[in-house]
Symmetry: C2
Subunit: 146 residues, 2 copies
DNA sequence: TTCAGTGCAAAGACTTTGCACTCAG
DNA sequence: CTGAGTGCAAAGTCTTTGCACTGAA
């Protein structure tokens, strides 16, 4: 993994700095879809010199390289996902978590793209689909404690 | 229309101020999915005393009342749509416009909700689907003048 | 060695808050 | 009349910019 990301950065003409590797690893090891601030908090302990600014810049770079996907869930922050393939997310209105949904994103994209091409003549190349609701644990707790 | 929005506000226990009516009308009369700033600009001419702040507050109120839908297209701003029903949007990467896509949002929602309920046990009640690509006019102009 | 990348501080964009004034009901 | 709503200014949150220093290649 470490090797992979370093290699991919270099192949793209970027330097594989420890900061970049650490940020990528953090993202790759979580399913929480953290925002820049959250990534920073997590890394700051073991990497005290790291600046929030670098996290922002790095995540931006990763997004441009297609290593990472940016999610807008309507919270007013950018979350990031180490899985850059189009896929579906669920934002829980109770606990605030953002979960991956097991739905074939590529298939959805293909179908949407065809439909939209045929009906409006528009060219679709990506999508962002967020479902809003309540995750399993929150919806089973009935009485919304939040 | 004027009557409708006034009435709906009053029925919900809110005052039907000229500002609120004007803001609603502005939104209802456009397909551009404007942000608060854009709504403000449009109204400021004929309504010089209106403040941007009021636009923000009003749009927030409308959203809470379900009169309006908030869109996150990943531009870092909130756009608003006078159609509160779930539906699909296309964000053009060339011209920046956000278009409505003629796709039955309610049907999509229903299918998604069923699938997700059966597979993960999550409760889905709304969605936000943004397609990214190039609108008809931009994709026919080939050479991205961007 | 060299310049892409980092870290710091400051600025910027969008949005919210606080408070006295105003006008819809 | 009365308090919900407005407008102004100031503050807040998230993100970006500018610049000198550092360390990956």
């Amino acid at each position: 993994m470490y090797v992979t990301i370093s290699k991919r950065l270099r192949e793209a003409g970027f330097r594989a700095t420890p900061q970049r590797v650490a940020i990528y690893m953090t993202l790759a090891q979580t399913k929480a879809h953290p925002c820049a601030e959250r990534v920073y908090e997590k890394l700051h302990r073991e990497f005290p010199s790291l600046s929030l600014n670098t996290v922002y810049k790095t995540l931006q770079t990763f997004e441009e390289l297609g290593l990472v996907r940016r999610l807008d869930t309507g919270e007013g922050i950018c979350r990031y996902d180490a899985n850059p393939a189009p896929h579906v997310h669920l934002a829980c209105k109770a606990c605030g978590r953002v979960l991956d949904i097991d739905y074939d994103g590529t298939y959805i994209l293909e179908r949407m793209a065809n439909h939209v091409k045929e009906n409006g003549g528009h060219e679709v190349c990506d999508f962002n689909l967020i479902l809003y609701g309540y995750c399993r644990s929150c919806s089973s707790q009935e009485a919304g404690s939040n």
